[in-house]
């Protein structure tokens, strides 16, 4: 007798019984907070009395008019696009180089992965020190090649770029790692066939490597996109959103509104917009992944 026969439960009951723990966990950890958050996004909290008041979609209409929100959205968009594109290009180049066999290849692979192992806060603090105008390594290095030092994260025009640079330094290895795995998984036969046909290196890359690498590219870019859209640590540590609001991202603005000004309803409403944005963008990638048959329905 199998255990199920011993319990004498009908199939349908057993099915739900086995699913129950997962469903309960999901309800408690995801659904309840989500419903609670929806309710909170429709309220305002009085900073002086703590009284809550229902305002309907008032928070959302206010967001549309909020210049700080649009500025934060713009900064987040620039950060995400620039960061992910540069990380992708560098990561792909590194992966292509390090997939070739040469001396000490493994040592290089390990070295390139180290930035990713640092906690983002630590990376941010290291770069804040590197960027110091008078004593920092960055300006000293520029000075060696005769370039006048720049303001880095202290200049309103260079601040966002300086933060993106930290992201690129820390997360290019992640792109590299996934793309390298993708490259290693490509079978060798198509290349052999291409060689017989006399294909150039670029033709091989264009018609064999890149198409077969697409699933890995999509996954790497998707994960980085979701991560950079909610970037917080570096901005919080390095600039606090300044100077002149040049680096305030959506996550930082949401955090400040929620936890510094205790405008919880407004912060929740903004979080929803960030959530919708992330979901829409991610789904574009996920549907492409489905088309590539990486995910199945």
């Amino acid at each position: 007798m199998t255990p199920r026969q011993k319990l004498n439960l009908p199939d349908s009951t057993l099915k739900y019984l086995l699913l129950a723990p997962t469903i309960i966990l999901l309800l408690v950890l995801t659904i309840y907070p989500l419903v609670f958050a929806v309710a909170a996004s429709l309220e305002t909290v009085d900073v002086r009395t703590g009284a809550r008041a229902f305002v309907g979609l008032g928070n959302f209409t206010q967001i549309v008019k909020d210049q700080l929100f649009w500025n934060a959205l713009k900064n987040t968009a620039i950060y995400t696009c620039a960061g992910v594109i540069v990380e992708f290009i560098l990561g792909l180049a590194l992966a292509l180089i390090l997939t070739e066999k040469f001396l000490a290849r493994n040592i290089f692979r390990t070295i390139f992965l180290t930035p990713m192992m640092l906690p983002p806060i630590v990376a941010a603090i290291i770069f804040k020190i590197i960027y110091i105008q008078q004593y920092g390594v960055a300006n000293w290095l520029l000075g060696l090649v005769g370039i006048k030092g720049m303001l880095w994260e202290a200049g309103p025009k260079t601040a966002l770029f300086s933060l993106i640079l930290v992201d690129v330094w820390e997360w290019t290895p992640f792109m590299f790692l996934i793309l390298l795995a993708g490259l290693q998984a490509i079978p060798t036969d198509p290349y052999e066939a291409a060689k017989v046909d006399g294909a150039t290196w670029f033709q091989e890359f264009r018609h064999i490597t890149f198409p077969l690498l697409t699933p890995a590219v999509l996954i790497a870019v998707l994960l980085r996109l979701m991560d950079t859209l909610r970037i917080f640590d570096q901005v919080f540590v390095m600039t606090g959103g300044g100077p002149a609001n040049a680096t305030e991202t959506l996550s930082l603005y949401v955090y400040q509104t929620g936890f510094r000004f205790f405008n919880v309803g407004y912060a929740t409403a903004m979080s929803f917009i960030l959530l919708i944005l992330t979901t829409v963008i991610s789904n574009i990638f996920i549907s492409r992944l489905r088309a590539e048959e990486v995910f199945t329905q």
């Binding site: 255990p3 011993k6 319990l7 004498n8 009085d46 900073v47 002086r48 009395t49 703590g50 700080l68 110091i132 105008q133 008078q134 303001l151 880095w152 994260e153 202290a154 200049g155 309103p156 919080f236 600039t239 606090g240 959103g241 300044g242 100077p243 002149a244 609001n245 040049a246 400040q256 936890f259 510094r260 000004f261 205790f262 405008n263």
Partner: protein, 436 residues
């Protein structure tokens, strides 16, 4: 069926265990008031002083104590979450004085007057500096007592005595015009490594804390007396922000990202002549392993201009949450920790400035070179101004900070910045109900 019954027995045991765990958690703080004392504090010398005192108190009194320490940037949200939800998790909170109005107005703190009456005192001892007592009362200076003044911070004007001597100002600059005149000469002759003035330009708290004394010196203020009008649209305010731009022009490049620590580094390395900063950095200047300017730094009052200069007060206050279950024990501890002896320990062990006049003028401490700045700090606190006592100060400060940061970064003119700040802060004050 046997398996099912086994499953049920295991489930029952599991539930029992979970129940016991929760009961244990709740049992740590009996409602009677003999449980352990829990302190929420910032993870810096100011907070460590009180934490150390609590541990010592726990040992002598045989009370269990616990310290929850978090960095400055996180302790505010930890405290607000606990206080607003009335969890009673903390029995003592150490808070920065600009947060006090919000905490008191929301009725999150315990009114301490009955506890003082019980020990035959009308309130805080008259030994505390008047301005220190004033920030512990809600409404400011006149209301009930909700906190003890734990650490006596107020900004001071730091200057290089040797350099200002050369320019005929041995007692430091008297006005902001003096600062700009001398500062310009120092920067011009400094070859890009020595600067006349260095300022905090980081968006948010730092830039506002640096600028408020300048605003006051020019006879301006952010609000009228009862907070029903924003007064940043005045010629005095414009003169103050214009002064800020002049200070930026003689400050090191990158001032837009400086905070108090970086200012101190400039001064320690001998690369800056003048700055406004907190007393917490004084000790470093006398330490030859950290300072290249030992014995060269003097402290003076905030320079005057249209009115007499006033320092910004930044006390750390110790309060008892309204939801605490150990109020009497917490009160007894705070009474002891802020006593003359308690403050002396804080001064000698942690370098924390006191709030009692008798400790400031203690002959033993005054004879120690490390505390030679005490008379100056006592004067600074006695002549200090608090940040506006409004519950939404964090949001107002952030908004003002964005505009000031734009001025420091050179992306906005003083006129536009003040006009923007006037509009935005008025909107915030309307939202909070101060302006009808």
């Amino acid at each position: 069926m046997r398996k099912l019954s086994q499953f049920l027995v295991i489930l029952a045991f599991g539930l029992l265990l979970i129940g016991a765990a929760f009961a244990g958690g709740a049992g740590e703080q009996p409602a009677g008031g003999t449980g352990k004392l829990v302190l929420a504090t910032n993870n810096a010398p100011e907070g460590n002083g009180l934490a150390q005192a609590l541990r010592q108190w726990g040992q002598t009194k045989g009370i269990k104590v616990e310290v929850v320490a978090a960095p400055y940037s996180n302790i505010y949200e930890k405290e607000v979450l606990d206080l607003s939800q009335k969890t009673g998790l903390y029995d003592i909170v150490l808070l920065d004085d600009p947060w006090f109005t919000q905490f008191a107005e929301n009725k999150w703190l315990t009114n301490l007057t009955p506890y003082f009456v019980a020990i035959n005192q009308g309130g805080l001892s008259s030994d505390f500096i008047d301005k220190s007592t004033a920030v512990c009362k809600y409404p400011y200076a006149t209301g009930l007592i909700y906190a003890f003044p734990a650490v006596g911070n107020a900004q001071m004007f730091f200057y290089r005595k040797d350099i200002l001597d050369q320019y005929g100002m041995p007692n430091g600059p008297r006005t902001w015009d003096d600062v700009i005149n001398v500062g310009k000469k120092v920067t011009d002759s400094g070859g890009g490594t020595m600067f006349g003035y260095v300022l905090r330009g980081t968006q948010g708290n730092p830039v506002v804390a640096d600028f408020m004394p300048i605003l006051w010196s020019f006879g301006a203020n952010m609000f009228n007396a009862d907070f029903t009008k924003v007064t940043l649209d005045t010629p005095q305010a414009l003169a103050a922000v214009t002064c800020l731009t002049k200070l930026v022009s003689i400050a090191p490049p990158g001032a837009a990202s400086f905070d108090a620590q970086q200012l101190s580094t400039f001064e320690l390395e001998g690369n800056a002549a003048m700055m406004i900063n907190w007393p917490a950095f004084v000790a470093d200047f006398q330490d030859p392993t950290k300072s290249k300017v030992v014995g060269k730094i003097s402290f003076g009052p905030i320079p005057s201009q249209a009115t007499v200069g006033s320092s910004e007060i930044g006390h750390w206050l110790a309060a008892i949450p309204a939801a605490s279950k150990n109020k009497q024990a917490a009160f007894d501890f705070l009474e002891w920790a802020t006593s003359v002896d308690g403050q002396k320990t804080g001064v000698t062990q942690f370098g924390n400035p006191p709030t009692r006049k008798s400790v400031f003028t203690d002959p033993q401490l005054m004879a120690t070179p490390q505390f030679s700045y005490f008379p100056m700090l006592l004067q600074a606190i006695s002549n200090s101004t608090p940040r506006p006592r409004i519950a939404n100060w964090n949001e107002v400060e952030n908004t003002f900070g964005i505009y000031l940061s734009k001025v420091v970064a050179g992306t906005m003119t003083p006129q536009d910045a003040l006009a923007g700040a006037q509009t935005d802060i008025t909107a915030l004050m309307k939202k909070a109900g101060y302006i009808k």
